[in-house]
């Protein structure tokens, strides 16, 4: 159920995300989704890649500070109210969304959202009970 996401620290200056991205490109790591969270001074680059183990090892070997975290890929109807249903399913559960972003592939009339929850296991339970489909890593990254 859970997807491995790689996060990278980057200073908020021109050119600072190009070197890790170039490194992954050179080594043939395919980036499937990417989200950059920024502050005035620094940012966090969050990546979902085809081979996270290879990517994490590569980045670490080249001196980048990378962290692997577990996120969930949630399938939602690509129409009004799709996200609202997911949020409703979590109300009252104590599960908090740390951050979220859209996965750039749409499957038919379904969109995929990536969520980082404070408690992924509780989130899985609640979402599945509400009949919401979670996309497995093999399926997402194939």
């Amino acid at each position: 159920m859970k997807i491995q996401q790689i996060s990278l620290f980057a200073e908020n200056k021109p050119g600072h995300i190009s070197s890790p991205i170039r490194l992954l490109a050179r080594e043939g790591v395919d980036i499937r989704a990417l989200y950059l969270a920024d502050t005035q001074d620094y940012g966090i680059l969050r990546l979902i890649v085809a081979d996270w183990k290879k990517a994490a090892a590569l980045l670490e070997a080249h001196g980048f500070v990378a962290k692997v975290t577990e996120v969930l890929a949630v399938e939602v109807p690509d129409g009004p109210g799709g996200l609202a249903d997911i949020l409703d399913a979590l109300v009252g559960s104590g599960v908090n969304i740390e951050y979220m972003y859209a996965f750039p592939y749409v499957r038919g009339d379904r969109a995929i959202l990536i969520f980082r929850f404070n408690d992924p296991d509780a989130a899985i339970e609640r979402l599945q009970a509400a009949g919401i489909n979670l996309v497995a890593s093999e399926e997402l990254l194939k």
């Binding site: 620290f9 001074d41 966090i44 500070v65 980082r116």
Partner: protein, 444 residues
């Protein structure tokens, strides 16, 4: 027999300034008497000093001439830290009327103490310093040093009051209010750091106040090194005469030495502070005129005598007598130090303090660099901290919390506001594996 110049100087000087013009042989005799007394006092009252004397096989009777001072052991800033807070006091607490503190090399500050007589001495030397800058009763002196544990504010305050001048105790900060007071009160002299005065010049201009039109005619600037180029700039922009004053808390505070109107070096108030210049490596005494580290001995201090204190300030004793008539010897203006101490807006900062502060935060490693810049006449200190895997988190909130903790730890240890910047790992320049700790981009 006094020479005629000396005689004129003495008759024209304020009574408190008479020691400035003591004939050299009388001054040397006074210094020797006081040196013997202060060494005896420290030896009998301060156990760590006595232990150091024992190691050298010395007793106070071994001091028979001023040259014998070279036999005495040095005192280092680390001695003050190691005996924190009261271990070097030579007076019981009931005799001590004031405590001040300044930053040490690591987390703990160093503490200095004053008896009533010490405060009187401090007041008198500062009064003599201000008199040497041409100030007197009737002058209105604004003190914009911080009032508090820092010796600058209260030191200048007492000195100016002792001189009989009118004191405006503005303390630091609130530049627009400082300008308003200068203008409305008709302030004639300012005591603050030179960089703060530069800032005031800019703020005055922004407020539409031309400092050259104000009654202010003198600035007595200290607590940080500054250059002749900066003096020229200040004088040109404000129309005042700028004086360099020197001092350090360990010895007494501001007022150890000061320029006179000749601006040819700083007169040391030698009847209370005995200056030597030594080779910073070997500790050997250097002859007059040679550059080395200034070493000071307090000749009259009661609460906390300092014997041969290593200031780490690099200067030289200027040969010859000043044209002003004072017999007090002079040191050159201080441009650099023999250790890694930084002076930021008048506050002493050691890179080791930054390291100590960072290490109090979970997961932080001492991979940091200090960047110094000057903006609007004020020193700015930025501490860049490398984000290590232990510190890193994929959530912005967690990184902001980390940033806040680092900021808080630095504020608490350094006592001044610094900018903390998180930078990528391995980006701080290292030479031979050793990180370059300080990049100083301040220019005069």
């Amino acid at each position: 027999m006094m020479n005629p110049t000396l005689e004129t100087c003495v008759t024209n000087c304020p009574p408190a300034s008479v020691p400035d013009y003591l004939p050299a042989d009388a001054l040397r005799a006074l210094q020797l008497r006081r040196l013997q007394a202060v060494v005896t006092r420290a030896w009998s009252q301060v156990l760590p000093f006595r232990a150091r004397m024992d190691e050298c096989g010395l007793t106070p009777e071994g001091i028979r001439s001023l040259e014998d001072i070279a036999k005495l052991p040095f005192t280092q800033k680390s001695d003050l830290r190691d005996n924190y807070p009261f271990g070097l006091f030579a007076s019981p607490m009931k005799e001590i009327v004031r405590l001040h503190a300044s930053s040490g090399t690591t987390g703990k500050p160093i503490v200095v103490a004053y008896t009533k007589q010490d405060i009187d001495v401090w007041t008198s030397v500062l009064g003599r310093a201000l008199a040497g800058c041409g100030l007197h009763r009737g002058d209105i002196i604004q003190v914009a040093y911080g009032y508090g544990l820092f010796t600058g504010g209260l030191g200048a305050h007492y000195g100016a009051e002792g001189l009989g001048a009118t004191v405006v105790p503005a303390s630091g900060g609130h530049a627009d209010r400082q300008i308003m007071l200068m203008k409305d009160f008709g302030v004639t002299a300012m005591c603050c750091t030179p960089t703060y005065f530069l800032h005031l010049i800019d703020v005055a201009a922004e407020m539409g106040v031309d400092m050259k039109e104000l009654p202010i005619r003198a600035g007595v600037f200290g607590a940080e090194p500054w250059t002749d180029a900066m003096r020229a700039h200040i004088e040109k922009m404000s129309g005042i005469e700028a004086f360099d004053i020197y001092g350090l808390s360990e010895i007494i505070g501001p007022g150890v030495g000061c320029e006179c109107r000749r601006h040819q070096g700083l007169h040391i108030f030698e009847d209370h502070f005995y200056p030597e210049v030594v080779d910073p490596e070997t500790g050997a005494t250097l002859p007059e005129g040679e550059l080395g580290e200034l070493v000071l001995t307090t000749l009259s201090k009661q609460a906390m005598p300092m014997i041969r204190y290593r200031t780490h300030d690099i200067t030289r004793l200027l040969p010859g007598r000043c044209a002003c008539g004072r017999t007090l010897r002079r040191i050159d203006r201080i441009g650099r130090r023999s250790d890694d101490m930084l002076i930021i807006r008048g506050v002493n900062v050691f890179p080791s303090q930054v390291e100590t502060a960072l290490l109090t935060v979970d997961g932080a490693l001492p991979h940091f660099q200090i960047i110094l810049t000057r903006s609007q006449g004020l020193d700015q200190m930025e501490v860049q901290v490398e984000v290590t895997p232990n510190m890193f988190n994929d959530k912005i909130g967690a990184l902001q919390e980390l940033h806040g903790k680092l900021q808080h730890a630095l504020d608490r240890v350094l006592g001044i506001r610094v900018k903390v910047t998180l930078v990528e790992a391995h980006t701080i320049e290292r030479s031979e594996g050793k990180a370059k700790r300080v990049i100083d981009r301040r220019t005069a």
